[in-house]
C-alpha cells in the first residue's frame, strides 16, 4: 500500500512558542491513519521558529486525511497556520 508523505510547515502564534511545545500537542491529536515520520525546526524571522513535520498518510484516502491533519493542528491554541510545502509518494 503506497503512502504519501507531506512536509508541513507549522507556524506558531508568537515567538515565545517553541516548536517542541507544538509537536507534543500535535502528537496527541493527530487523526487516525496519519503518522509523523520526521520533525524538525526552521527559524523564520524575528524570533519565530516554524515546526516542520513529515506526515505520512495512506495514498488511497486522498487529501481528506491531510485536510484533517491540517485542521487538527490549526485548532491548537499555539498554532497560527499550517502549510503543506510538498508531497511525495513513497514506496511502490
Amino acid at each position: 500500500m503506497a503512502k504519501v508523505v507531506a512536509k508541513i510547515k507549522v507556524m506558531p502564534k508568537d515567538p515565545e512558542i517553541k516548536p517542541n511545545m507544538i509537536k507534543k500537542q500535535v502528537e496527541k491529536i493527530l487523526p487516525e491513519g496519519a503518522e509523523i515520520t520526521a520533525s524538525g525546526e526552521q527559524p523564520i524571522a524575528f524570533g519565530l521558529v516554524a515546526l516542520m513535520l513529515n506526515v505520512a498518510v495512506p495514498e488511497e484516502s486522498g487529501t481528506k486525511i491531510l485536510d484533517a491533519v491540517q485542521e487538527a493542528i490549526e485548532s491548537l491554541e499555539d498554532v497560527e497556520s499550517t502549510r503543506v510545502e510538498a508531497v511525495t509518494r513513497i514506496s511502490l
Partner: protein, 437 residues
C-alpha cells in the same frame, strides 16, 4: 553524496504501470545509492513472490524504510547524484487528489521525468482518454517545470523488440503533446527523449547495443543536460503573505515566500487586495537580517506604518508601479479531475491559489477542449464532467489577487476544491483587473 554540486528537484511522473518505480529503483541502484548485496537480497525477495520484475521497485521500499527511520525533514527519501548534480526525487502521487498540494506547495520542481511505456497497448492507454501521460505532462508544466526528460520505456518488451520505428512513433506522439502545451501555456519547454529499458538497464548508464540506431544521450547523460533554472529576479516583486504577526519590540511582520522579483530594505510595497502600503524597515531570513530577498527565500519583513489588522493571509506584496492584480473576473484553462456529478455555470467552489483561498463562482463555461489535440469540442457547453478540459470564467466572491500564468507562474496556477476533494486544476489564461482606488 556531495552537497557542493548544484541541487535539482526532480518530479517523477507517468501513467500507472509504465515503469516509474522500476526506473527510479534502477537509477538509484546504478547511482550507487544501494549496494550489490542489498540488490541481491531484494532479488530473492522478488523471486519468492514469483515476480522478479519487482526487484528494482523494491529498492524504493527498502530506501523508504531506511529514510523513514531517519530524522531528516528534507523529504529526500530518494536522492542520488550524477557527475554534475545532486538530485532529490519527488514522486508524484497516483491519487489525483494530491495534485492540489503540488499546485499550492512551495517546493520548486526544477525538472521532470515522464516515463512512457512503448509496449503495445500501454502507450496507447497512456495517451488515450483517461490516460495520465498527457495529464502529467500538463501537470509538470503547470508546476512551472520547463525541462523534461521523457524515458520511452520497455524497449525490451516483446511487442517493441528495440524497434526504432516504435520509438519514433511514441516520441512523435508525445512531442505533439508538449508542443500543444507550449502553445497553450505560452511557455518554452525543453524536452529530451531517451529509449530505455528500466528493467534491463539498456541506455540508462551504458549505451545499449540493442539499439545501435540511437545516437542521443543515455539517461544519465540526459540528466546532466538539465540546467539550474534561473530565479525570476527580473520580474516585479510578488510575495504572497502566509501569516501576519505583531511582534513586541519589532512591529508588524508579514511572513511569506518571495515568488518573483527582489525585496530590499527601504522599499515601499503595496499589499493587495488589502490595498495598504508601507515601507520595509528590516528583512530577516533564518533569523538573520538580510538586505535583499530573492525568489525562493522564506522571509519575515517588518513594515512601517501598518498594523496587523491591515493585512491578512492571501494578500500579495508588490511594487507600487506594478501592483499585484486584483481581479474582477479571470479566465481559467482547467482540467476537471473529479466531480461526482457535473459542473455547470453558477457553481461556487473554493479556488486555492498561492496563499489565498476564495470561493469563486463559475460565471461561464466558454468551451470544452480535447486536451490531446487542443481542439474545441464544444462551445458554451452546458456542463463539464470528470476528465474534461475546458476554458471557464470565474468571479471571486471577495477581493482576490491572481495573475496570468504567463506573467507569474506561481501566482497563476490554481486548484478548485469542494466537498473535501480536488475538483479541478488550472492555470490563469487571462485576468480582468478590478479598479482599485
Amino acid at each position: 553524496m556531495s552537497k557542493e554540486k548544484p541541487h535539482l528537484n526532480l518530479v517523477i511522473t507517468g501513467h500507472v504501470d509504465h515503469g516509474k518505480s522500476t526506473l527510479m529503483g534502477h537509477v538509484l541502484y546504478l547511482a550507487g545509492v544501494i549496494d550489490d548485496r542489498t540488490i541481491r537480497s531484494l532479488e530473492s525477495e522478488a523471486e519468492k513472490l514469483k515476480d522478479p520484475s519487482f526487484k528494482f521497485a523494491f529498492v524504493l521500499d527498502r530506501l523508504k524504510e531506511e529514510r523513514e527511520r531517519g530524522l531528516t525533514i528534507d523529504l529526500a527519501f530518494y536522492k542520488f547524484d550524477t557527475k554534475k548534480y545532486y538530485f532529490t526525487i519527488i514522486d508524484c502521487p497516483g491519487h489525483r487528489d494530491f495534485v492540489k498540494n503540488m499546485i499550492t506547495g512551495t517546493s520548486q520542481a526544477d525538472a521532470a521525468i515522464l516515463t512512457v511505456s512503448a509496449k503495445k497497448g500501454e502507450f496507447e492507454a497512456g495517451i488515450g482518454k483517461g490516460g495520465q501521460t498527457v495529464e502529467h505532462a500538463v501537470l509538470g508544466a503547470t508546476l512551472g517545470v520547463s525541462q523534461f526528460l521523457v524515458a520511452v520505456n520497455k524497449m525490451d518488451d516483446m511487442t517493441v523488440n528495440w524497434s526504432k520505428d516504435r520509438y519514433e512513433e511514441v516520441k512523435s506522439n508525445v512531442d505533439r503533446i508538449f508542443k500543444l502545451i507550449e502553445r497553450e501555456l505560452q511557455t518554452k519547454l525543453i524536452v529530451t527523449y531517451v529509449p530505455v529499458s528500466a528493467w534491463t538497464g539498456d541506455n540508462l548508464m551504458e549505451r545499449s547495443s540493442n539499439m545501435p540506431w540511437y545516437d542521443g544521450p543515455v539517461f544519465f547523460e540526459a540528466l546532466d543536460v538539465f540546467v539550474v533554472p534561473e530565479k525570476p529576479i527580473d520580474k516585479p516583486l510578488r510575495i504572497p503573505v502566509q501569516d501576519v504577526y505583531s511582534i513586541t519590540g519589532v512591529g508588524t511582520v508579514p511572513v511569506g515566500r518571495v515568488e518573483t522579483g527582489v525585496l530590499k530594505e527601504g522599499d515601499v510595497v503595496v499589499f493587495m487586495p488589502s490595498n495598504k502600503q508601507g515601507e520595509i524597515k528590516t528583512l530577516e531570513m533564518h533569523h538573520t537580517r538580510i538586505l535583499k530577498a530573492e525568489p525562493g527565500d522564506n522571509i519575515g519583513f517588518n513594515v512601517k506604518g501598518l498594523g496587523k489588522k491591515d493585512l491578512r493571509r492571501g494578500d500579495v506584496a508588490g511594487p507600487l508601479d506594478s501592483p499585484p492584480t486584483v481581479v474582477k473576473e479571470f479566465t481559467g484553462r482547467i482540467f476537471v479531475i473529479y466531480h461526482p456529478t457535473a459542473i455547470a455555470a453558477g457553481y461556487t467552489p473554493v479556488v486555492h491559489a498561492h496563499t489565498a483561498q476564495v470561493a469563486c463562482t463559475i460565471s461561464e463555461l466558454q468551451s470544452k477542449i480535447d486536451r490531446r489535440t487542443g481542439q474545441t469540442i464544444e462551445a458554451n457547453p452546458s456542463h463539464l464532467k470528470s476528465g474534461d478540459g475546458a476554458m471557464i470564467k470565474l468571479i471571486p466572491t471577495r477581493a482576490m489577487v491572481i495573475e496570468k500564468f504567463s506573467d507569474f507562474p506561481p501566482l497563476g496556477r490554481f486548484a478548485v476544491r469542494d466537498m473535501g476533494m480536488t475538483i479541478a486544476v488550472g492555470i490563469v489564461e487571462d485576468v480582468a483587473p478590478k479598479k482599485m482606488s
